[in-house]
Amino acid sequence: MVKKDLSIMISGRAGDGILFTGNLLAKIFKRKGLEVFTFRDFPSNIRGEPTAYTIRASEEKIFGPSQEIDILAAFDCESVLRHLNKVNYNGFVICDSSEQIKIDSTLKKKRKIFNIPIKRLARESFGREIFKNVIILGVLSHFLRLEFNLISKIIEETFLQKKGREIVEKNLKGLNLGKNEAKKLIKEIYQITLPTKKDKNRLLITGDEAMALGALIAGCRFFSGYPICPASEIMEWLARKLPAYNGVVVQTEDEIAAIHMVFGASYAGVRAMTATSGPGFSLMSEGLSLAGMTEIPIVIAYVQRVGPSTGMPTKNEQGDLLQSIFSGHGDFPSIVISPATIEDCFYLTGEAFNFADKFQCPVIILTEQLYGQNYQTVKEFDFTKIKIDRGKLIKSENLIKDKPFLRYKITKDGISPRVIPSLERGIHMVEGNEHEETGYRNETPLIKEKMTQKRMKKLETALNYLPKPIFSGNEKAEIGIIGFGSTFGPIQETKKILIEKGLQTQTMHLRTLWPLQIEILKKFINSKKIVFVIEYNFSGQLYFLLRQLVKPSIELKNIRKFNSEPFSKYELVEIIEREINP
């Protein structure tokens, strides 16, 4: 049987090592030239609670996980019962026969179940249950006719340097063990063949890694942050890589320190960034306001998770859209951009530093757990596309002797010249109180008014430079769909299914969330008969913004999901169809 779009879920308990198996599988599919998207469904604990990791491999470009599973590989029977309803009726379940499992035939449907003593094999052959991970990989390698050489090469790459030859050999042994065991049970008629394509110039990368890499290439040499799901991976990746490029990563005592250290480093001339999620961003808001007031460029990668409060730290939501835009006291400009895809995480982060330097304000890269912590195959990044533009950063020769340097000079575009401290003629004051052009404190009403206007002017100036939305579909379609962030995958698939059903749509995926691109939005919305606004939150935060600021001539339909799961393939299709043909 040939499968062009396959989803495998590996399920067990936290601590089982599911991430290991899934990541290897993702890499195998990637090397086979397939498009890959992974989906972590992990609890926020370390050991014990049920976890699942789904790897989707497809011949065609995909932008998100599938909520339908073709193969469920489970380490315990509870996992089978928990996830069986997601497995296609004619799908497969591989489960550990060490546990006796009885599945009611009404539940089982046509699904085929293979019982394999995975844990027992691991214990008997290695004395350690942890080898169940590579044994199940062996089982899958037979099931999916995966090339042994390819897997053994990836195992070697993974372990040889870090753990040595012995561990490589043990894993290869486990792989064979699983494969041979599978041969006994999974007959040829059940075997699945995946297409093979050329794996050229592609990467398998998470959004967090892509943002970290984008930052480094853009010249970021300073990072300070505080560990938080699902953004820590940005700090961890940079902590490994920055020192070789003369950069520094500081793990601070809290997010307040993190943003202020970024502020100090950026003021002194380094491109600097922090990364966080909702709770950390809340703490950062006073630093955000300071950077806004004093016009110091800072970049924050904001990887949303489910809130409020500690919420669900390892799950996906878009509930912080408004916080990302309106956080911080007082009127000050800040820019919020949002990668449409994991690939976009790289390029937009590269751009973010230019925006921060050019417009001298906080730039927030707003994304979500679904992108931050999941892998996707992307086209190899083109580093030459990252240009470095430091805006109005001026050099010593442009400074006039014996004249005070006007760091906050009122200009047409609202942007003033900036110097890196240490220049004799550039001495100035960075003042969190209201200040005049020199930077020194001045709280007179006229200055307050002028300086507020000057700062806010920068948003207007920025509008033309900020990332444009991604449009797709039929321009003449009467149905429009608007989204941002991780709804990209579901929206694209919905568009495809609707075309098959004879419904034309045009989609618009926003990549700049603040300042809102009102004219572009107005044009799009007003060209449609009906426009759906899709988002992962309860309150309809994007819908709220569009209604208040775009003031569209037609009624917008808001589709919201807030149970932490992404839209499944037909979910959006059904809702849209219901709206159109009630």
């Binding site: 592609r202 990467l203 398998l204 990368i205 890694e209 480094l216 853009a218 010249g219 040499r221 300073f222 300070s224 890589k241 020192p243 490029y245 003369n246 950069g247 520094v248 500081v250 601070t252 005592e253 809290d254 307040i256 320190a257 993190a258 202020h260 250290m261 970024v262 502020f263 100090g264 480093a265 950026s266 003021y267 002194a268 001339g269 380094v270 491109r271 600097a272 006073e286 630093g287 300071l290 190899e380 580093f383 030459t384 990252i386 470095i388 890196i420 401290p421 240490s422 004799e424 550039g426 001495i427 100035h428 004051m429 960075v430 003042e431 969190g432 109180n433 930077g439 020194y440 404190r441």
Partner: protein, 285 residues
């Protein structure tokens, strides 16, 4: 120019008799005697009366957020270690809202001079009790006297691994100049808690009170500021408040441990063609 005038900016507007005048003067004299150029100095101040110092001392200045001058100063110093970086806080800034940053900066040991102007009261916000106010201190926020015991930044710094710990008094400028100069020369985090009377909001601890209640360790030849055990004993002897150099230790500062070999990060050429970025992709193939 060989006078402190080269550091002068606006006329200070602190209240008459405020300890901040003496501190500002001591800082200017120290900078002058050590030949620090205004454009190579960054002073990061917190929020409070002491935070106004940036308006009176000509150099690169940051007047940021309440309690956060140390993280800001740390960022500046790591970005460009060639700058002389000072942070100035009040006792509210340092020991109340900024306490966590204080302890963590002490343990990181960046080469920063930290002056805490300790007047045992929130003066700018008009006289509320602070964490260093004595038990029973009557203020607008503690009309029946504080019911909390005060904390001592010196003890905290010693416990957190401080490498330069001193206490000054704004009524003794020559000593303060000596301490600040030593602090500037010390390679590491140099912390000076400066007892500084607020004549408006703290009527209890005035200049006379301090003169009666402090002792000067610098005048005690038997005191060994290199002995941590002795320092701990000394600051826990309650008869009088010790001032002077309390503890000094040489150990690698943060920049020595964390920074790369190149010059200051702030002056790196960031053009992508300057770097070989391709090895970074290997793990993603």
């Amino acid at each position: 120019m060989k006078t402190i005038n080269k550091y002068k900016l606006f006329e200070p507007t602190w209240c008459p008799g405020c300890g901040n005048y003496g501190i500002l003067n001591a800082l200017m004299r120290s900078a002058l005697e050590l030949n620090l150029e205004p454009h190579k100095i960054v002073i990061v101040s917190g929020i409070g009366c002491s935070g106004r110092i940036n308006n009176y001392f000509k150099c690169y200045g940051i007047h940021g957020t309440h309690g956060r001058p140390l993280p800001i100063a740390s960022g500046v110093k790591l970005a460009n270690p060639e700058l002389s970086v000072f942070a100035v806080s009040g006792d509210g800034d340092a020991y109340s809202i900024g306490m966590s940053h204080f302890l963590h900066t002490v343990r990181r040991n960046p080469d920063i001079v930290y002056l805490v102007v300790n007047n045992q009261v929130f003066a700018l916000t008009r006289g509320q009790a602070s964490p260093t106010s004595n038990l029973g201190f009557i203020s607008v926020s503690t009309p029946y006297g504080t019911k909390e015991y005060p904390i001592d930044g010196i003890k905290l710094a010693l416990a957190a691994g401080g490498t330069f710990i001193a206490r000054g008094f704004s009524g003794n400028i020559p000593q303060l100049v000596r301490l600040i100069k030593k602090a500037i020369k010390h390679r590491g985090f140099s912390f000076i808690d400066i007892l500084s009377p607020c004549r408006v909001h703290n009527k209890v601890q005035d200049y006379n009170w301090y003169r009666k209640n402090i002792i000067n360790l610098d005048e005690d030849p038997s005191y060994d500021f290199g002995n941590k055990q002795k320092a701990w004993e000394r600051i826990n002897t309650f008869e009088k408040i010790p001032t002077g150099l309390i503890y000094v230790e040489e150990k690698p500062c943060w920049e020595d441990l964390i920074l790369g070999k190149e010059k200051a990060m702030s002056h790196l050429d960031l053009k992508p063609e300057k770097y070989d970025y391709n090895p970074l992709l290997k793990e993603f193939y």
